[in-house]
Symmetry: C2
Subunit: 438 residues, 2 copies
Amino acid sequence: MKKINIALVGAGVVGSSLIWQLHEKHKRIIDEFNVDIRIVKVLVRNKEIKREVPQQSILFSNNDNAGLFADSLVTDIDEIVSDDIDLVVEVAGGIDDAYKIISSALNNSKSVVTANKALLALKGNELYEIARKKGVDLLFEAAVGGGVPIIRPIRESLAVEHINSVRGILNGTTNYMLTQMTRESKRYDQALLQAQELGFAEADPTADVEGYDAAAKIAIISLLATGANASAQDVQCKGISGIRLEDIESAHNLGYVIKLIALVQERDERSVFLRVEPTFVPLDHPFSTVHDSFNAVFVEGEKLGEVMFYGRGAGGDPTASAVLGDTIDAAINISYERKGAAVGFAFDKTIADPREWISKFYVSAEVVDEPGVLAQIAQVLAKHKVSVESMNQVGQGDKAKLVFITHECADGYICDVVQDLTTLSCVDAVTAVYPIMQ
Amino acid sequence: MKKINIALVGAGVVGSSLIWQLHEKHKRIIDEFNVDIRIVKVLVRNKEIKREVPQQSILFSNNDNAGLFADSLVTDIDEIVSDDIDLVVEVAGGIDDAYKIISSALNNSKSVVTANKALLALKGNELYEIARKKGVDLLFEAAVGGGVPIIRPIRESLAVEHINSVRGILNGTTNYMLTQMTRESKRYDQALLQAQELGFAEADPTADVEGYDAAAKIAIISLLATGANASAQDVQCKGISGIRLEDIESAHNLGYVIKLIALVQERDERSVFLRVEPTFVPLDHPFSTVHDSFNAVFVEGEKLGEVMFYGRGAGGDPTASAVLGDTIDAAINISYERKGAAVGFAFDKTIADPREWISKFYVSAEVVDEPGVLAQIAQVLAKHKVSVESMNQVGQGDKAKLVFITHECADGYICDVVQDLTTLSCVDAVTAVYPIMQ
């Protein structure tokens, strides 16, 4: 049996967990899959750090006797892509070094498994294209959704399906915070503080709360599901920092819960919508029960209909499990000299104008409590051809608030409506605009 | 490129849809997967029936010119497993002929794809064992959950995971009926009638409403997920025909919804619990939003945590998509002379005594409205060491009802409690017992 020689980039939480899992399952993987995986090199910054991994294992050996973990350590990134390596597994993160290693590996016809979300969201198309040309694997289950199987089912669905849209709750931190705000009536800043105390949110929470993390993930998904020529910056992105408790309560009273939804949706054969934004989700939709740091993805296929995947979004062990699954797949393909799993998209789809995206919307505004307000607002809506499903005035006097839900209309029309509303003397402020999921 | 010659058993709704999909995607499958799939034989009962399939296609040909569907038809089951066949795809259903064809194919080292739930629930172990010995594929995604990817994720998880339990809403008919009973306050018989009128339930609905269909599916899942030596009869099975509207209302008032839950759960290294029964599901659990004919499966793995899969349970196109996915997988394995995907269980696990299964339970009883009733009932509970989380008397006089929720206890103790309660003079009847999902 041919040995599959791996170069592992990174031996932190995920890397160490992966080494343990490979160590424990080495024999079982041989029995089940007929592949003998060895870790020939481990790239680290500092060889001296004590790491919680098996120090001695057949994994690190070239024969039937155990080898030493210490002997596999290298610190020079140029040493990673060498002739004896079959497969590069990158779990270190970062952009520049990771890009250098991965593109060099792919260009040298070596398969790559990576958990590097940031890199894929930036340069996914380019790397994917190299993998496709060279006929090798570029697998990245762990880059999106940690332990939730998302990438693989999409990849497999694609074999037989045309995918119309993928929607997801892709960021565990914001979902935890929204759960706290919804269940415990915590304000945004309280929820953030708690998430930081529990280690769910970082000291600088920008990437999570402003939706950039979810944007990177949906860009990666769009690459695979639709072949769109997209990176994270192409995503129309709005975070959760503007969500007020009263929006959550208002949503609840109408039968909705607010979730940060990422979506890629085909506009036509040539373009896709890419969005991340807080969204009203109906209480009887499965997304409404995705609590805390769980993630979920809805894939809508032409024949398959709607399929959802759900699971815990992060953590060293689940992420390492996802990396291990990819590693075994890539090893099998190498072992059987089978072409990699890269799907043959042309990456010729463009990003559609977000203003053309169609949805129902919830809008709330602070208004002056006087006769004729409704008429003025109705006129603005009529001017932009937005028809209204329901409109309610809540409160009186200084606290007067107008809430309306539109029928389906283009996002751009709603933007125009909001702009025009703010010019009305009877409107103090437009306080909230949310799309409503069907 | 080697042609992969398929013998297709059955050309009904699923078979026809499969032929269309293969016809339309023939070139794409070659481009993506490097396998050239041909349908050499199609087993039908009657050649004369007009079928809605492409009458002429490269699928039915041995070369680059289109062949005729009519020329592929055979009616003799002994003709199916011949030397020129690489893969048997069975979508006809039934037991005897299907068993004969599939076991003969496997014994002749030919891979098999099947959608035959009944056969697998009866003889899955035996067939699986042959496939394993011969190193060929026995794939059956479509046998469980139609278009919901259930079998494949379990199979793939297994590569890296130990699975502790699988719970599922596996029967679309009963889930549709329960949705009607919950949302529209329909009685069981009204919901059944409506399901029959809409074609969701059959004239004889026994297999669905008594849980036998779900039992067959969970038996198949248990085979794959735990290696239990189980068939459908081993499942502790209770259907939905005894569910009263007041149970549904009572559940709702306590924050639950009633779902027919199938489960396989590891008791220890040597045995598993296998159950199908109406269960109280918390309203904030994802299962509570699985409505109508949708299916869902929760897999609990050691490292991966909880993962859920959700989608539409049935229908010709989704089922055919699932069969197509399996067919491509098997064709790839044949093409690369790769060992089949059969997982190497020893099938040595037994079925645990259902009385030992642990859960919280909901119990309701009609009682005589007189002093001392609570004390008598509490005594029965104490005798069987069942501790109670809450106990409430609802209504007065003739309508007096006692409802209690237990802490976690063994199923057998609850059975004993119920039996003892019915012997008390103050208890008219125990009207409902439901396990409560956590």
